[in-house]
């Protein structure tokens, strides 16, 4: 290795070492520790506790009621709270989970990024719950409607947080790209998984069953969020840092490659259903590759906005393919074991 290349590596390491706490964060953490009793196992305040006071001043009675109910639930039934984590619609603990635990948890999340990711995770969780019920033939219309309504609520919360873009206390541009792509990929992938679950091997020659309500809600939500994001993008300054494109492009390529490797790993021993999942995954991967090719064309024409949007579309498709393959195969294997 030449001195120049060694110097590039060392410079990279030096730049990483520039990641530091701010003076204010450093002081706050130190103050929290020193003000705690060193011999006491009691927890100290979070470094974000200062925000907590601000938040409390704006607390509504409803929020206090949630906290009170939550505390009561913990005192009277800590086990129930824990047990409710994996509960599904139809289970007595499910209302506790979606009506108390999740809303209370969200009240204590402070950064807009984390709040948006939390709502996105909840939306995904609703789809996974629908998958779990459908795989056991327990997804009736009532449960499906309930899940679809909850999903819509999470999407509404998610959109509100993302709409604050550009204002104080908003999601940063870099984070919002990741959050939206992830949301879009999760919604589309799980909607497709839902359409697949429950099909017997003999029915796979035909198209997947007609969209059920919740998978349609998921797809519509992905489109709605993507459109809103696209509008926001148009107001942004054009990205003129080529390395950002390059890094992102490399990252997308590595997602595509790793999903292609996974496909090769499972394709040797495949049932018709598995083959169909693989075929669909390949199709989505090809779509991701196609978007990636279009990125170069847009870049050559110096249309950086469109190039970046294509890049994000490519990443979303690549992620969707990976999620669809992994989740689809897992449910398939679970069903096979039970059969």
């Amino acid at each position: 290795m030449s001195n120049f290349e060694e110097e590039k590596l060392n410079r990279g390491a030096r730049e990483i070492r520039e990641i530091r706490m701010t003076a204010e964060e450093k002081e706050r953490v130190l103050k929290n520790i020193l003000s705690s009793s060193p011999m006491s196992p009691l927890p100290v305040r979070s470094p974000y506790a200062d925000y907590f006071h601000t938040l409390l001043s704006g607390f509504s009675k409803k929020h206090f009621a949630y906290v009170a109910v939550f505390c009561l639930a913990v005192v009277l039934g800590g086990g129930a709270v824990f047990a409710s984590q994996g509960s599904l619609p139809g289970n007595i603990l499910y209302s506790l989970k979606v009506g108390v635990i999740e809303p209370v948890h969200s009240v204590f999340i402070f950064s807009p990024e984390t709040r948006a990711r939390y709502q996105s995770n909840l939306a995904t969780l609703r789809l996974i719950e629908a998958e779990a019920l459908k795989s056991e033939n327990r997804l009736d219309i009532i449960k499906e409607k309930k899940l679809a309504a909850l999903l819509e609520k999470h999407v509404e919360n998610f959109s509100k947080i993302m709409e604050n873009h550009g204002r104080e206390e908003s999601v940063s541009e870099n984070a919002s790209d990741d959050i939206v792509i992830n949301f879009q990929a999760e919604m589309n992938a799980h909607a497709r998984v839902l359409d697949f679950i429950g099909q017997g091997e003999e029915r796979i020659e035909s198209e997947p069953t007609a969209n059920i309500k919740i998978s349609k809600t998921a797809r519509d939500s992905a489109t709605k969020v993507r459109d809103a994001f696209k509008n926001n993008m148009e107001q942004r300054e054009a990205e003129e840092t080529p390395h950002k494109y390059e890094n992102r492009k490399n990252a997308v390529q590595s997602i595509i490659d790793s999903t292609a490797i996974d496909i090769n790993r499972v394709s040797a021993d495949s049932s018709p259903v598995k083959q169909k999942i693989i075929e669909d995954t390949n199709e989505t991967l090809n779509q991701a590759r196609e978007f990636l090719r279009e990125v170069d064309e847009e870049n050559e024409e110096e249309d950086f906005h469109d190039a970046y949007l294509k890049l994000l579309d490519s990443e979303s498709s690549a992620r969707e393919a990976g999620i669809f393959l992994e989740t689809g195969l897992k449910w398939r294997e679970k069903n096979n074991k039970e059969e």
């Binding site: 020193l34 060193p38 599904l88 996974i128 940063s172 870099n174």
Partner: protein
């Protein structure tokens, strides 16, 4: 005695807090979480200094070890809202989950730093932490061995293999 311990703690905190915070931030990709884990890490050091249950000969290795374990715990808790929690909840599976490298965009890094961090993230799981701890933080193989629960020799081998892999990945090995 208390003032002596506080002074000692403040000195260690001043010297190591940025490195611990960085180690946490790169792995959990959330500033708030990284601050929480950093605080918890130093809190444990603070209590250990008072309790003197065991003498802390190498506070740096101690801090990285605690932070490493807290991060793994954090990932385990994070996993509880996942597909696995519904499909395999009875098995209580936990798995170490690598950080999505692209989130490094939000760290405010310059181009070389971001590129290097991306490439470190692409290393095999056994090499990733040894390389980071050695190359970025300058820890010795003995210290890395303690942090990761492996021998100093094994740490040294992982560092060397990882560095060679890193040079290939960065294209700096020509």
């Amino acid at each position: 005695m208390e003032t002596g311990i506080t002074n000692k703690f403040e000195k260690i905190y001043g010297e190591e807090s940025d490195a611990i915070f960085r180690f946490c931030l790169i792995r959990v990709s959330s500033r708030e979480q990284a601050l929480d884990i950093t605080q918890e890490t130093f809190l444990r050091l603070w209590r250990s200094l008072f309790e003197k249950k065991e003498e802390i000969r190498n506070s740096r290795a101690f801090l990285f070890t605690v932070a490493h374990r807290l991060i793994i715990d954090w990932y385990r808790k994070k996993k509880s809202i996942s597909l696995e929690s519904i499909m395999h909840k009875e098995e209580g599976e936990t798995e170490y989950e690598p950080v999505d490298e692209k989130t490094s965009d939000g760290f405010g890094l310059e181009a070389e730093g971001r590129y290097l961090l991306d490439k470190i993230g692409e290393l095999s799981p056994t090499s990733r932490h040894p390389v980071y701890l050695r190359f970025v933080e300058g820890l010795s193989p003995e210290e890395i061995g303690k942090i990761l629960g492996i021998s100093a020799n094994a740490a040294s081998v992982r560092v060397n293999r990882g560095l060679s892999e890193l040079r290939k990945k960065t294209g700096y090995n020509n």
